[in-house]
């Protein structure tokens, strides 16, 4: 029996959060949720998920701060991070990748594309 991959969804908008959670649970993933950046960092530290899906604009700590915290923590720095944000400016996307994001998807998003990127990020990394 294979163990379900664990994904942390950090998203403050409840409608989007519920949509993403239902989309991932439907595909058999175990999903944890955080409603703000602070909570996301704390949950990541305790649950050590296989993937983090994070919004950029969130209360207390924004997505960039979440990324920084993840990438500077020895235990968490190898967790892939997918940014899911309404911010579609070139500078925001470039900044996201510079801060260590592995993928960046702009909202409104295509659910199937999102799932395939999640699947790709959860594949074992090639050496």
């Amino acid at each position: 029996m294979s163990i379900a991959k664990r994904i942390l969804v950090a998203e403050d908008d409840p409608v989007t959060r519920r949509f993403v959670v239902s989309l991932l649970e439907e595909r058999g993933y175990e999903v944890l949720v955080a409603e703000d950046g602070e909570h996301a960092i704390a949950t990541a530290a305790t649950a050590q998920p296989d993937l983090i899906v994070s919004d950029l604009v969130m209360p207390y700590r924004d997505g960039y701060e979440v990324l920084r915290a993840i990438r500077t923590d020895e235990r968490l720095k190898n967790i892939p991070v997918l940014i899911l944000s309404m911010r579609d400016h070139e500078e925001d996307i470039v900044r996201g990748f510079e801060q260590g994001a592995d993928e960046y998807i702009v909202k409104p998003f295509n659910a199937r594309e999102f799932v395939s990127r999640v699947r790709k990020l959860l594949e074992p990394r090639r050496a």
């Binding site: 519920r18 409104p108 998003f109 659910a111």
Partner: protein, 410 residues
Amino acid sequence: MQGALIVTVLSIAALFLVLTILIVVGKAWREFRDGWRRTRRRALEPLVLKYAHGSDASVFSAMGGAIAKRDRVVVEMILLDHVSRVRGIEHERLCRALDELGFVDRFLANLRGSRWFRRAKAAENLGLAGAKRATSQLAAALTDEVPEVRLRAAKALGLVGGRAAVFPLVNALTEPNRWSTIRIADILTGMGGEVVKELMDAFPKLNAHAKLAALDILGRIHALEAVPWLLSRLDDPESNVRARAAHALGAIGVVDAAPVLRKALTDAAWPVRAMAAKALGRVHDLEAIPALCVALRDREWWVRANAAEALKLAGPPGLEALEGVLEDADPYATHQACLMLQGAGILDRRVAELAGNGEMRSAATLVILRFVEAGQVSRLRELAATHAEATVREALTRLLPQETATGAAR
């Protein structure tokens, strides 16, 4: 008298009591209703999302048959909330559910209603529902007496898309007194490639105002297929049309447009020359460098500024040409060249080369002296005082006019 006073006081007190009771009951009712809706939402939302992610042909079968009348408002809220957040197949399925459950019919009925806020909301919801069959009604709503309804109908047409939705929006561009051209242009731009053909077809019938907006839209959506058509607009008798067409070609950034844009650099109207220079910079046309150097001597400031910027954008060959312009007899041309070279960091680099020897140092000295002759010494003075290397500071101070060097030292 006293009796009448008591009756009045009691009446007022009773009135306040009744009002207070109404407010409290109203608030309690709203809270109860919202709580009930939240509960129902928790039960119904997973079913709606299961339908969106799944492959059920009908929303009814996904939701276990019919939907109770009292649940309809909750399902509508769920569908409208999610439909605006996704694209692709999920979006299409949510739109289909809104139609299948009869919400689109209700929005259409509300669009004909007597209350403007209901019409506005109905227009907005029809847009979210992507209701293509509502296109003609939404187009008709563009003539609504209330501006808010007109605007939401325009936005809805932008979301619904399709050629039938484009035409009324293009027409709206011709009425700047009724519409904000910027908003309509934004909506048409957001619709992307599907507006290109309609804009080109409608162009001859548009008024002057709308023609300029149409050209801007084609540039903003990077309409590659419109390039040949835009090139032919550079022969338009109206100079504003030629200028905007040049601007649009620059925004699209197709190098094939460069030969025609180079010709436009000699247009009789200065806005066309200015826009052609700007466009040539955006398409990085190296063959235009000699013509852009000539444009640096144009009698109009905008043409000179755009030509200088274009040379800067052309990269090393353009910057080399700008250094050559420093020897030009035209003070306006040398001024623009100085500004661009300084902005591109070339001046700082030349100053740093003063620390070297031989040919490099001689070339750097020559460029710096040209800046001094053009009177562009403020950055040089700053570097003479702050450069990290003492040899550079000393060499630069010797090149600066005596009084300036003294001023900098002070």
